[in-house]
């Protein structure tokens, strides 16, 4: 839709209403179904029924005595969850500029291709009966390898952190194969928390790397940290401040000279499509967050997919199996192959098929030019938005995301207040190198008009007093939620509510 059509449709054009927040014309009121001192009652508060075991086909000593669960008939079920959906904010409702999360529009048609019943098959089918599925997976492996500049890709890891864990296991197996006992993984202080946790889960000692004054890797600190024990350096590039690690080639040389490998955390790949490939920068292993870069829906916390790409030297260690083209003499197009020195499986089957199918469709829709344009617009949007807000952005030049500082305000309170303007706030208080951080990633999907509204939301909040912030949000389903109470008086099920 063009701007012109927008303007003629609602008559507002580019004129922004003046005045305070509620007069600005873009606040919202979220649905608030209420029932006394609660919102929509829990399903179990509506109706429960009990199972009967008199007609059990098993002996009594092998069955349970009783079971009581909620039971809603279909009209009630539909209304229950439709009401809950109305009390939930998604990217289809408005901007969602959560830094590091790459909340893009999830193209509607990708849901349809994933729902194809021919793809909804059992994982233990014989290989000749899933040639279609394997052809899609093989094409996706190929696409991702090209995009990352990698030689081989596994699609098995079901999320980004699972991809990290897989990559670390692959690196570990590589070193071990070479008779090289290395116990440390270096992670920059400002890295995603999963990097530390994945390295620790794989049994490595984590060496935290302090950042340089310019927000990038400090080469002296890196030199200090590197040694005979270094198995891996995990890097995000651009980093969590949105800055490109300009010294990446030197970093790669230093790590490789020390006998270590270089890992690329793909969380920020949306900044680089068509302009830089991890493989060309000296990275040996990487994961892709397809629920970020390749627009598969985040589903309220998952499922995602975290495919892992590697250079040739690491390919023999990838998880089992890989999808490969069958030899010419075979009647099959595709088959499974166990990599020579595989680490085995990292997911019970082949990962999250529905997510992978959507990622393939997205990449195919965009192609070379679309992917490149997505990064261009993502970087343009971040820079434009930053130029329009009053909060200071201390580090640059940034790419697809920037980290603003809320200054004297509490970033968490700023976020709560932004909700009242009908926008989702940025990621807050992280990375810690920026005080009261507002880590903001608008992605390419927002046009100027929405970015201007987002900027207005930032600026309105920047001008508000501490009391207004502390009392926010006002227009969401719930008012400010007491986190201390939730953690101190733990109630993790409806049973606990009765106690």
């Amino acid at each position: 839709m063009s701007d012109e059509r927008d303007a003629s449709a609602d008559g507002t054009g580019d004129h922004e209403p003046a005045g305070d927040a509620s007069a600005a014309g873009f606040h919202f009121d979220q649905a608030r179904w209420s029932d006394g001192d609660r919102h929509e009652p829990l399903s179990a508060e509506k109706r429960t029924t009990e199972a009967e075991y008199d007609d059990s086909p098993l002996p009594d000593d092998l069955t349970r005595d009783d079971l009581e669960l909620p039971k809603l008939e279909e009209p009630e079920l539909v209304r229950h969850y439709t009401r809950l959906s109305e009390m939930n904010y998604g990217i289809d409702l408005g901007p969602y500029p959560l830094g590091s999360c790459t909340m893009k529009y999830n193209p509607a048609f990708t849901e349809d291709v994933a729902a194809d019943p021919n793809g909804l098959v059992h994982p233990d089918r014989p290989v000749e009966a899933v040639q279609g599925t394997l052809s899609v997976l093989h094409s996706l492996q190929d696409y991702l390898a090209r995009i990352g500049g990698m030689d081989a890709v596994t699609l098995q890891p079901p999320a980004g952190a699972a991809g990290e864990f897989t990559g670390v296991l692959v690196a570990d197996a590589y070193h071990e194969h070479n008779g090289d006992d290395r116990s440390e993984i270096i992670v920059p202080e400002s890295a995603h928390g999963t990097n530390f946790a994945s390295a620790a889960l794989a049994g490595f000692d984590v060496v935290s790397l302090p950042g340089g004054e310019d927000g990038r890797v400090d080469l002296d600190a890196l030199e200090e940290a590197l040694g005979d024990d270094t198995a891996l350096l995990m890097l995000t590039n651009p980093n969590t401040l949105g800055l490109f690690e300009r010294d990446i080639e030197e970093i790669a040389d230093m790590v490789h000279d020390a006998g270590g490998l270089l890992y690329y955390d793909g969380a920020n790949l949306n900044a680089l499509l068509g302009r830089g490939r991890p493989g060309d920068m000296g990275f040996d292993v990487m994961h892709y967050n397809v629920h970020k870069t390749f627009a598969t829906p985040h589903g309220g916390g998952g499922p995602g997919a975290g495919p892992v790409g590697v250079v040739d030297d690491l390919a023999p260690f990838l998880p089992d199996p890989q999808v490969v083209e069958a030899p010419d003499e075979s009647p099959l197009g595709y088959e499974f192959e166990t990599p020579e020195a595989s680490i085995g499986k990292v997911h019970g089957e082949y990962g999250n098929w529905l997510v992978l199918a959507k990622a393939y469709a997205y990449i195919a829709r965009l192609g070379d030019d679309g992917l490149s344009d997505a990064s261009a617009k993502a970087v343009l949007n971040a820079n434009y938005l930053a130029s329009q807000i009053e909060y200071d952005v201390p580090y640059g030049p940034f790419h697809h995301e920037f980290v603003a500082s809320a200054g004297d305000q509490d970033a968490a309170d700023v976020a709560k207040r932004m909700l009242d303007y009908g926008v989702h706030p940025p990621t807050t208080k992280w990375p810690e190198i920026v005080s009261e951080a507002l880590m903001t990633e608008p992605t390419e999907i927002e046009g100027k008009r929405t970015l201007d509204q987002l900027a207005r939301a930032f600026d309105e909040v920047a001008g508000e007093d501490d009391e207004t912030l502390a009392n926010a949000p006002q227009r969401t389903t719930a008012a400010r939620i007491d986190q201390t109470e939730a953690a101190r008086d733990l109630r993790l099920s409806w049973r606990a509510l009765e106690d």
């Binding site: 669960l69 959906s85 014989p126 040639q131 899609v136 928390g193 994945s198 008012a479």
Partner: protein, 445 residues
């Protein structure tokens, strides 16, 4: 849908004039000027990926997936094709759910949080354990997480994890990878005609044992008859008793808490999700006193400033974004949307509906085994046990040849070993099973 002349992503709304205005506001002439990438690592090639239209991609993927053979699947072993009502698809696809992120701003995401709270609560009812998290990736990774939990809470200096000899290979391999970074060692205990061999297990469990894992039904579909004895053996040596199962079986079989289970793992995607080529939902429930050691996200109840009951992610200090290398797990993105679907499906079925599914699964397996046993060259069930959904059958002819012949006839079955196949009833109609028995009779002689 966009009015731009230039080729680019269809999912960015910028017109040329708009782009120019934004560039001007930033103070650069081109988008390229915003990229701070050294020339030496700039990528100036092509991926060689041709953009296609929606229509073309739907046709291409539709044609590709149509190459999957049209088979009647008698397949189970952890993935079951229960019918999922249309209402679940339509509700779960509401974009307020589907396109939302993790609930880091709970005030604006009460709907999803309540649904996850309901999911956790359903698992608490089904397992009898105090807490359930709001998902792991799949049954295999949930088992791996259970082992690392056992290491964190163990009371002995032991390192042994005991698992049954019959264990699905994916679960075994994933478990091995999850313990690779610990000093835990995975060992197996023998099975006796499809159930845990209690004597063999008793010999293996000692002070060095930190975890005993059992499944019901087992990977071969046998109801485990001695769960309380397994639980006692584990408890005698302060080992964690981890039970693998699923929400449908739980609606009929013994309640895990009543047999001494400390942790329950398994596949919760038996509810709410059709077969999706192995995509799953990892169930994870455990004793309340492990609450600070639980992996994954937890939704708890609280109160908002207006005094209303609300929900929020809680105890996040266990998680990677706060605790980093000391977190209880590295998991961040999980399977929340699948958990939403499972909760919807369970709520639509109710306790009676769920129990009816499990009762039917016992009856159907019994019936099919009896009929297959009448086929010349086949003896079923191989194990003299109660079965749920599926069973192993002995074949006089090589199992692989029978499997291959059946594919030609339009059926998919499991091969267990040289002379054993496995057959599952879930997802097939009675007519389909009738025709299958006829087809089996043709190829099994």
């Amino acid at each position: 849908m966009n009015g731009r002349d230039t080729e680019g992503t269809p999912y960015a709304p910028h017109g040329d004039a708009e782009t120019a205005a934004m560039l001007s506001a930033v103070g650069v002439d081109t988008e390229e000027a915003l990229f701070d990438i050294p020339e030496s690592v700039r990528f100036d090639g092509d991926f060689g990926i041709e953009a296609r239209t929606e229509r073309e991609i739907r046709a291409e993927m539709g044609e590709a997936l149509a190459r999957n053979r049209d088979l009647v699947e008698l397949l189970g072993r952890g993935h079951y094709d229960y019918y999922v009502p249309s209402a679940i698809d339509h509700l779960a696809d509401r974009s307020e759910f589907l396109t939302s992120y993790t609930q880091y701003q709970p005030e604006v995401t009460q709907g999803f949080l309540q649904a996850l709270f309901e999911y956790q609560s359903l698992l608490v009812e089904l397992t009898g354990l105090g807490i359930a998290n709001c998902s792991m990736y799949d049954a295999a990774t949930a088992l791996g997480e259970a082992a690392t939990l056992a290491e964190r809470v163990r009371e002995s200096s032991g390192t042994r994890v005991l698992v049954p000899e019959h264990l699905e290979s994916g679960r075994r391999e994933v478990l091995a990878n999850y313990v690779a970074g610990t000093d835990l060692v995975v060992e197996t205990y023998a099975m006796d005609d499809g159930n845990a061999d209690l004597d063999a297990l008793a010999e293996r469990v000692d002070a060095e044992t930190v975890m005993v894992y059992a499944e019901t039904p087992t990977v071969r579909g046998c109801v485990e008859e001695n769960l309380d004895a397994v639980g006692d053996l584990a408890a005698d040596d302060d080992a964690l008793f981890v039970l693998g199962t699923d929400p449908v079986s739980l609606a009929l079989l013994e309640e895990p808490a009543s047999v001494g289970a400390d942790v329950v793992v398994g596949s919760a995607a038996v509810l709410g999700l059709p077969q999706s080529y192995g995509m799953d939902l990892g169930l994870f429930a455990c004793r309340e006193d492990f609450v600070r050691q639980v992996p994954g996200r937890l939704v708890g109840a609280s109160t908002d400033a207006e005094g209303r009951r609300t929900y929020t992610l809680t105890l996040q200090t266990r998680e990677q974004h706060i605790r980093r290398e000391r977190a209880t797990s590295n998991i961040c993105t999980n399977q929340a949307w699948v958990a939403l679907r499972a909760a919807m499906h369970a709520t639509g079925l109710g306790a009676d509906g769920l129990a009816d599914l499990a009762k039917r699964d016992v009856a159907d397996a019994r019936d099919l085994a009896a009929r297959v046993d009448d086929v010349e060259g086949v003896q079923a069930p191989h194990h003299d046990r109660h079965h749920l959904r599926e069973f192993v059958a002995h074949t006089d002819q090589p199992a692989r040849a029978i499997r291959d012949d059946l594919v030609d006839e339009g059926y998919a079955i499991h091969v267990v070993d040289e002379h054993h196949v496995q057959l599952c009833t879930v997802g097939t109609t009675e007519d389909e099973r009738d025709e299958f028995v006829d087809a089996l009779a043709e190829v099994a002689r």
